[in-house]
Amino acid sequence: MKGLMAVFWKELSDHFSSLRFIILSLLIYLAGIATIYVAAQNIRADVTAATRFIFLRLFIVSGESVPFSFPFFLALFIPIIGIALGFDAINSERTSGNLSRILSQPLYRDSVINGKFLAGLVTLSILILSIVTLVAGMGLRMIGIPPTAEEVLRLFVFVLVSIIYGGFWLSLAVLFSVFFNRTATSALASVAVWLFMFLFVGMIATFVANAIVPIDQSSSIDALARHDEIFRSISRVSPSTLYGESVQILLMPELSNPSSTLVLISIYTAGMIPTPLSLGQSLLVVWPQVTSLIALTALCFAASYIKFMREEVRST
């Protein structure tokens, strides 16, 4: 345990004093401030007298000059942060000749991985928490409507889910740093996975769904629903989709299903009027997504352990 804490504190202080961290924070703060600024400009048009969660809308609304909402930016940037904090965790120690020195000290090998992961996770959490707080604070000043207790709770869960999402990318990067001896390789591999998950899974899902259930304007509701189902189940391979869906449900209480198509269908066919879900209900809806993210993280961890624990450590 002492060994783990020693690694943790050392890594944490490394992260906070690194140039990498400063660049990442600048990047994410700029993006956050830009989106919230645009959201505050456009929120008047978006809100009607019936809107109940005005403060949360601030995080959802996007404008024309910056066509992305805040959660979209997070979905994009959190993987970059996770990867940047973890891609050289083990292999840089190996190439610098530190690994054999560290592993000849009386600490378990998993303490090295765990300490590094924890330090990355704490850094990540601090970044996410600070950006959400900053954005919330700015939003509060700009629109002048304080959040309700439920909105605060929902934002809190949103931060938590974001951290879990970042944890997955961090563990993936650490996994690659165990498997690849060169930091450039592990960084590229992580980025490749990120691009694939972020861009290509959606394209593949659309392609497959179109091939199985072709739809056009005259398609029946059943066909639309089936198309949507196929699309969703394929794109859920991607952690980005899982995160996107959870965030949607958390920040838009009136959604009862991550699929907007299905929600629209239920409105038109059953004449349902969307009523906001309670926080507990929303949590139930996102539960599968969140557990999948945790499971994926655990999977990366298990693979890193298996590779690293029995590996020969040579100083060359």
Partner: protein, 310 residues
Amino acid sequence: MPMQYAIETTELTKGYKNKIAVDRLNLRVGEGEIFGFLGPNGAGKTTTILMLLGLTEPTFGSARVCGYDPTREPLKVKRMAGYLPEKVGFYDDMTARQNLEYTAALNGLSTGAAKKKIDELLELVGLVDVAEHKVGTFSHGMKQRLGIADVMIKDPKIAFFDEPTAGIDPEGTDQVLTLIRGMARRNVTVFISSHQLHQVQKVCTRVGIMANGRLVAEGSVDELGRKVIGGGKFRIEAQVSPVSDRLLTVVRGVRGVSNVDVEGDRLLISCDEDIRPQIARAIIDSESLLLQMKIEEYSLDDIYLRYFRD
């Protein structure tokens, strides 16, 4: 109760996909010894050290370091064994002191105890003046000395040095060897792996020679010399004229001479002591002219070369 060995291996073997790096190694190193583990590159020296530290698992056989099995109880071994890897690395963007502080933390030392120990060790290895400098600016020799301080933080009972003098200048080598000898004086068992015989010869009490994964010879430098070259510790080379049978008989009869070889007009005499005066007299007494005479101490090099020629 049997004698306690610092290192004891039984049939220790490590095989890789297409070669056997260490082949049934049986090695015993007593407490307080400075053991030189010699051999050319690729002889299996580093692999042996890695197995002794639990950094890789033996394919077959077992080892005990300070009474513990490094495969089963690596932490107990690592608590007592220090290791200076061949290409030791430190965190370049941290100072010498910070690097040592990290090692101390990994060993569970309290901040106060660590500070005291680090001050003491920096003094010992002569790095006090650069304690607050980043390690990235250090020369190879300085890093090696920092490595020795790093090994000593945990107060090891046994220390492994893998090629401690490779790539540093003679002065640095001297400093490193002095420090290693100093450790032995503190009752630390020292295990040095090296291919640089001259340097190791100066400090080791006993050596083992590895070739192709096997331990081909073991013993003190003197013993090995006698065993391998079949003669004494010294070699006297005398140029004479003429080389007669009588001369040879007389020289062979001199007390202390263990072997005489003839090479042209030179006599190669191996002996245990410096007996040049007696030899000179013997040559003159047998009515030959002594043109030149010189004496050499057998070095590990000769022993070593003898092994690898075969």
